[in-house]
Symmetry: C2
Subunit: 618 residues, 2 copies
């Protein structure tokens, strides 16, 4: 019997030729690779090569959703963008909430694969009946919010669009893809917006309404009823302060980046917290399609320099990267910076990373006002922050260099710049410090897309919380190395499933763990996976992405942390440095990888990835 | 009063134009930079730039000796070659014993600086009266021993020559410069032979007899009489088995490289020891000019495949790198390999490094018989060893790749090759394992020329032995990190003096430490340096070389060990991994360098290196 939860179709658009193809998605592929990042990784592996230039026409930009997307299961309406990253040169993926995923799926497709590059700006329009490539010359150069407004005016308010801003057009390697207009959600990481820009694709407009078939509507309804109380319970506190409710505690335990990851304490933490936001600029909340958590913030500047601005507010990562990382403690300024990033289409994490780097380079005399158009890049300067965001988006002055990401910028600046260009495999890290939690250290070092907190998502499951049905032992000491490799191994496999389903990871806090996820998937598809089989698929997908990178030369030497994260922070904080070598040894053993971090033939066979063994250079 | 021990002249030869210049060496420069590598580093810093191509005509090849060279002080007759290394791309130096240094000095010069590149092969001849650049077309292509014979036949047996073999001519980046014919001594490291080859300079022939002026002949005589008993005492045991007398103990404590640094134990250690050599192939001993230690071996194959070979024998480093590192335990085979390296002009340490690397690449399937001209590169294969030496020297088959050193070879092979290309800053390490001694770990990581045991020379001073008058505390545990940074800091400063004096470091075993060295220097020059001032000059010279590298972008990120040296060896051995980050932190503090390993302005001012501050990019 054919699985449910699938539309069974992939749309493939070649912008070199304008050819549009509908490809059948076979059931075997679905069962092996699920959807989202799993399916995307498979397509990317099979149709790009070592030589593929991430910004060349031969790179693929893949949008993919999962089996539960578009069903009544809340939190499953995210979508995944998969591509070869221009920022890191390796496997790239970015995940996004909002409403686009659901409406895309309801067009009748599981994935959209874009190849080639149009000569002039275009947009793609999709619904159940037609797919068209349309002229978008009039939209080129426009900010994301304007494009969203234009599209809703043209196609109706139920049309959703995934768009790039000027940053993506300018091939800024930290550019993102934005949906949902002013209540922006973004596929942020790995410079996916630059790949879209390189294809001269301004927007993907979707307007689907088809029902997504499920195997057991009844089973889903019952399961949702069962878990509703615990989700509601969790939501109550979470919606109050959003993701930044933990800011002050994060500062206390040494988890946030301060002064480009140089300093321990940050006195201003209380001024940029979710609590402070609620007391000051917060005016409302919003959520992704079908979600009950309401983590989105609406903020408004009642007075001051940004008076009148009413906009989606910054979440934890943004507050920390644009804030503490640059020694900025003015929450309105950060909200303004967040707005600019969303308008221009810039990843706020990487943007905060390159700005912290630039401020340090300025302090050390490697960058001067000659490079900045006269702007002094002083720590804590809101003026510098906002002007740098613009410089990066438009590649002006020093922004042209920073648009390449910290790794490349440091290489071009020379001297000691590489010492404080903070990245793993080329990706600027999110606001979690590896010196504060050993699973974060190992997760950053080994995540397939570079420094990432979402591919292991362990940071909240290292001490008190744990996921019983994952077989994860409860850990008690975040500085100890014992048990951490196993924790990261399990969580990366689980997160591979989340990103393929494509489901929001916050549901874990509400107690939706392996068992209910497996039940949701089974009720949707009609499969009868056990928890163990569910997790094994996650392991397969994680290894598939690893193999994509192995083919590109990634191995143990790259599974490391930047030098700065292996020395103590100034001014106090934590006292432990991650024993990265020992953590890796243990981790590779759980993974069944060889001493260089290469999946063995035996492991690939066990995971049913025989055809990917060829990607392995011994 | 002018200092003694100096001839006061530098010979500068430009092979582009044939111009020969005699430059006055002023007393201030001598007092600041002494001679040997100190003087060489100053000249190199001042007359090469970031852009200088190591194999281009603008690179300098500097031969330099020290104040005591050519005097009656034994063990001071070494010479130093300083250049920008084609192997590492940074500061390069190589040190050599034998008789060349003394005879060069007696030509009336303290240094020879060669610039440019001749269009046709040439040699340089020097004595007190003349310097000539002579046609050497007939010598091009010849092995080192032949050249030595030719030169002695032409210029008389008292002429000494520093020559390159085919490897240097072929720009093999691990090529050395050889003196003393069959009793070969070599300036081995950093590919100095390739720089000589790039200049088409086959030989530097010297034939000086001038007396070297000293301030107090009497003081020197008295001092030598005083230290003679202890040197004789030490020599008795040292001359018996040479540098390889400790082979079996080195294996026991985990100090030798086994299977490209992969394995702990090596059963064959007893078969390649100095003791075994004395029982089998040893027929005589030899020594450098004026030395009493007799560490040189003469070996002869009475039978077997190399029957009739009578030649300078392999010393410890060679036995380990061509032997245990390749799993070879046949001492005659290693002696033959050593002979070939000397004939062709290859550094035996780097050659053993690239061959161990090649054998591992073969085992892992990254190199096949297609690449080797059909030779199976099996571990332990003497046939493979000898054929690879030839392939490297003549850049045949895989040898063309290996001739670039392991770092470059791995980059071109791709895949996981970088994981087992063992080097620091591009230089293949000598036979001392950083996992066995923490000072070796820190010394390898921070030495100015890359992985080096001679720039810190701590490996015998980490447990029982210590140098009291250096202010070095006695250490008791080679695995502990305490005291190691200070030990390395002191020893590197002292070794900078040794390499500038240019004196053999083995005298330390005979008890010639800081005080007697200072006395020798004072008696030679007429200075009245205190021990503290003596050591401060050493610190200055070490920082000068560091600044040369800093100008080229070297910083903390480069002060590290290859990934393999940060995991445990297979099959047992030591159980401690070097805590390299913590060792570096403490070391930089002793050095007065900033957190990135950059000498501060304050430190450079304190050391009288104000004019080198410009080399520092913040």
């Amino acid at each position: 019997m054919k699985s449910k939860g699938y539309m069974g179709k992939i749309a493939r658009i070649d912008l070199d030729t304008g050819t549009i193809t509908r490809i059948k998605l076979d059931d075997t592929t679905v069962r092996r690779f699920i959807g989202g990042s799993g399916l995307g990784a498979k397509i990317l592996f099979d149709h790009t090569s070592v030589e593929t230039d991430p910004l060349g026409p031969e790179n693929l930009l893949i949008f993919a959703v999962g089996p539960c997307t578009g069903t009544r299961i809340f939190n499953s309406n995210r979508y995944q963008v998969v591509t070869k990253s221009p920022l890191t040169g390796i496997y790239g993926e970015a995940n996004c909430g909002g409403n686009w995923g659901e409406i895309f799926k309801k067009c009748g497709y599981d994935a959209l694969v874009v190849r080639g590059a149009s000569k002039t700006p275009v947009s793609i329009y999709m619904d159940e009946k037609r797919i068209t490539v349309e002229d978008a010359s009039s939209l080129w150069g426009k900010e994301t919010f304007e494009v969203d407004e234009f599209i809703r005016a043209k196609y109706g308010t139920s049309a959703e669009s995934a768009v790039i801003g000027p940053a993506g057009e300018n091939l800024v390697k930290i550019a993102n893809i934005v949906t949902d207009g002013k209540h922006a959600r973004a596929a942020g990481r790995c410079g996916v917006g630059a790949v879209m820009g390189s294809k001269r694709l301004k927007a993907v407009v979707v307007k689907g309404t088809s029902e997504v078939p499920v195997a057991s509507e009844d089973g889903i309804r019952q399961l949702m009823r069962r878990i509703a109380p615990q989700m509601n319970e969790f939501s109550r506190t979470f919606k109050q302060f959003g993701t930044s409710g933990g800011m002050e505690n994060c500062e206390k335990i040494g988890n946030i980046p301060v002064k480009n990851w140089y300093q321990g304490p940050f006195e201003g933490a209380g001024k940029i917290s979710g609590q402070r936001m609620a007391e000051t600029i917060l005016t409302g909340r919003y959520h992704c399609g079908r979600c009950v958590m309401n983590c989105g913030r609406v903020v408004k500047a009642a007075d001051g320099p940004y008076r009148g601005m009413e906009i989606g507010g910054p979440e934890y990562e943004t507050l920390a990267l644009l804030g503490s990382n640059c020694l900025i403690d003015d929450i309105s300024c950060i909200a303004k910076g967040n707005e600019l990033c969303n308008r221009y289409g810039l990843d706020t994490i990487s943007t905060g990373g390159v700005i912290g780097f630039a401020m340090e380079a300025y302090e050390r005399g490697l960058v001067t006002e000659k490079d900045t158009g006269g702007v002094p890049l002083k720590w804590g300067s809101c003026d510098a922050l906002l002007k740098l965001i613009e410089m990066v988006a438009f590649r002006k002055n020093i922004g042209d260099l920073l648009a390449e990401g910290v790794r490349n910028a440091a290489q071009r600046i020379g001297g000691t710049a590489a010492e404080f260009s903070i990245h793993v495999k080329g990706l600027e890290p999110p606001a979690h410090d590896p010196r504060a939690k050993m699973t974060v250290a190992l997760g950053f070092a080994t995540s397939n897309r570079g420094a990432c907190h979402l591919q292991a998502f362990t940071h909240d499951f290292e001490e008190k919380k744990f996921i019983e049905d994952l077989g994860m032992p409860q850990l008690t000491d975040r500085f100890a190395k014992e048990g951490k490799a196993y924790n990261v191994f399990l969580m990366q496999n689980l997160m591979s499933m989340f990103d393929s389903l494509t489901c929001c990871k916050f549901v874990l806090f509400g107690g939706i763990t392996v068992k209910p996820l497996t039940e949701f998937l089974n009720n949707t598809t009609g499969w009868d996976l056990t928890d163990g089989e569910f997790m094994k698929i996650g392991e397969r997908l994680y290894n598939l992405k690893r193999m994509y990178n192995v083919r590109l030369g990634i191995s143990r030497k790259d599974d490391t942390l930047p030098p700065r994260m292996l020395v103590h922070r100034r001014g106090g904080g934590t006292n432990v440095l991650p024993p990265i070598g020992e953590l890796l040894n243990e981790y590779y053993e759980y993974r069944g990888w060889d001493e260089f971090g290469i999946p063995t033939d035996k492991k690939l066979q066990e995971l049913g990835l025989e055809e990917y063994i060829h990607g392995r250079k011994k």
